[in-house]
């Protein structure tokens, strides 16, 4: 009888506290779940969101750079190369040097200009520089002797020299007002200008990459200004005669004249 009563008491007590036990069990499950699932998941989510943010930034940068390269390839690169390579050729380009010199010599108001005189071996210079392993900017020195009609003409030629597409850099300038002889121009000015022009030997391993290429975007304004600099091809180089007034003619005027 006592055993039965005791069992009944235990059952009663269990019935009384079963709810609390269920809540405690659920609480433990909840805590375990929070510790083992929700906290790691939350941490993963935070990490993923940070990763997404970082990747979005990277993607935006890469997309912008890719678009810049596509645009560069399709439009401005060739133009930029043309301007920059004219100003600073990748080889000792004597042709543009002579064209620029002769173009300057044809300016109005100049009575006499000395013929271009390049130091012997100037064409050999590049080969020697490469053999010696030199890279970067190389200098070609020459001089220009000018007799200008007056001060204005002298000023104009100095101004023009500083604004040529092929870089002409004045290293030294001598301005002399000559002694006037009878019958001579009393306003003439003699100029002796020591000049340098440059060419560029490309280093074997030039560093390229996004940072360097993007640096070029800040140079666009300078390049567009450089584009306005003076060229003299039209003044110096005459059009090539094809010998035909009408290109559809079967014979040229030259051959017709020869016959």
């Amino acid at each position: 009888m006592n055993l039965k009563t005791a069992t009944s008491d235990i059952q009663t007590t269990l019935r009384d506290y079963v709810g609390i036990m269920v809540f405690i069990t659920e609480g433990i499950i909840f805590i375990l779940l929070v510790v083992n699932f929700f906290v790691p998941t939350y941490q993963k989510i935070v990490a993923l969101r940070a990763e997404i943010s970082q990747k979005e930034t990277e993607l935006a940068s890469l997309s912008s750079y890719a678009n810049y390269l596509v645009e560069l390839a399709s439009s401005s690169l060739a133009v930029e190369e043309e301007i920059i390579n004219y100003a600073l050729p990748s080889e000792n380009d004597v042709v543009t040097l002579i064209v620029t010199y002769e173009g300057l010599a044809k300016m109005e108001g100049l009575e006499e200009v000395s013929p271009i005189s390049l130091a012997p071996g100037v064409l050999q210079q590049e080969k020697e520089a490469i053999e010696e392993g030199q890279t970067g900017v190389q200098q070609v020195l020459f001089a220009m002797e000018i007799k200008a009609e007056n001060e204005e003409a002298a000023d104009a030629i100095i101004q023009e020299i500083t604004n040529t597409s092929r870089i002409f850099d004045i290293l030294n300038l001598s301005w002399t007002v000559p002694e006037v002889q009878e019958g001579e121009n009393t306003e003439s000015v003699d100029l002796v200008i020591d000049l340098a022009t440059y060419y560029y030997i490309q280093p074997p391993n030039i560093v390229s990459g996004q940072a360097i290429v993007e640096q070029g975007q800040s140079q666009i304004e300078f390049i567009s200004k450089l584009q306005q600099a003076r060229r003299f091809e039209d003044l110096i180089l005459d059009g090539v005669e094809v010998g035909k007034e009408d290109l559809m003619e079967t014979t040229s005027t030259i051959s017709a004249t020869l016959q």
């Binding site: 009944s8 019935r15 079963v18 709810g19 269920v22 809540f23 659920e26 499950i29 909840f30 779940l33 699932f37 929700f38 998941t41 939350y42 989510i45 993923l48 997404i52 990747k55 979005e56 990277e58 993607l59 890469l62 997309s63 750079y65 890719a66 390269l69 596509v70 560069l72 390839a73 690169l77 920059i84 100003a87 600073l88 970067g136 900017v137 100095i158 101004q159 500083t162 004045i170 290293l171 030294n172 300038l173 001598s174 301005w175 002399t176 007002v177 440059y198 560029y200 490309q202 030039i206 390229s208 990459g209 290429v213 070029g216 140079q219 300078f222 390049i223 200004k225 450089l226 600099a229």
Partner: protein, 216 residues
């Protein structure tokens, strides 16, 4: 004693069935609700994590695509890098250019046309050598003098008499002003024509930046 127990049991037995069922239902409902909430929370968290993972994968794919596009333009990248290097050099050359026209103008106007300049020689470093003949009393144009890109001027003044030589030296040595560092007499000599030449070394501290690059 036994009676008491029986009474208590009976009392409880009479009261508990309805209350216990209600309590049981409450416990069950709360437990079910709790489990549902846990399941919902867990599913939501897992789903959100899954979406984020997929987004990362998508971004990875897009990054790989963009890198492939960039790699396909490798030659453009290299050509542009050369251009950037060259443009830097050209900019450096232009920045180092000296404004010769300004130096000539300054040299001519420095003494307010009281000397007639016969020759000017200018070096890129800003050293200017001037040979001039005195034509009237030497005056010093302060406005022109102190805003110049000339760093140093070696001025040779030719005068016809020794009295004018002394006067010229006194006048030039007396010049003072902001931007003018010093005036020194370097030498005096008698020329072949019987005239006097005095060489001054004038240094300026106000050498202004070059302006040739403005031409571009």
């Amino acid at each position: 004693m036994g009676l008491k127990i029986n009474l208590l049991v009976n009392k409880k037995q009479k009261k508990r069935p309805a209350g216990r069922r209600a309590e049981g239902r409450t416990v069950l409902n709360v437990s079910v609700l709790f489990i549902i909430l846990l399941l919902l929370g867990a599913s939501g968290a897992y789903a959100y994590q899954f979406i984020l993972t997929k987004e990362v994968e998508l971004l990875d794919r897009e990054i790989i695509d963009q890198k492939a596009v960039i790699a396909s333009y490798n030659d453009v990248e290299e050509r542009k890098s050369v251009l950037v290097a060259k443009t830097n050099e050209i900019q450096r050359i232009y920045n180092e250019k000296f404004d010769y026209l300004k130096a000539i103008e300054d040299a001519q106007q420095l003494f307010g046309f009281s000397i007639a300049i016969e020759s000017i020689s200018i070096e890129k470093t800003g050293v200017v050598s001037v040979e001039a003949r005195k034509v009237s009393d030497i005056t010093f144009s302060q406005e022109q003098a102190f805003a110049t890109n000339i760093a140093e001027m070696n001025l040779t003044v030719i005068v016809p008499t020794s009295v004018e030589l002394e006067d010229t030296i006194d006048t030039l040595l007396g010049f003072e002003g902001q931007g003018l560092s010093s005036v020194i007499v370097t030498s005096t000599s008698l020329t072949e024509e019987g005239e006097y030449a005095v060489v001054f070394s004038i240094t300026f501290s106000s050498a202004s930046p070059d302006t040739d690059q403005q031409n571009l």
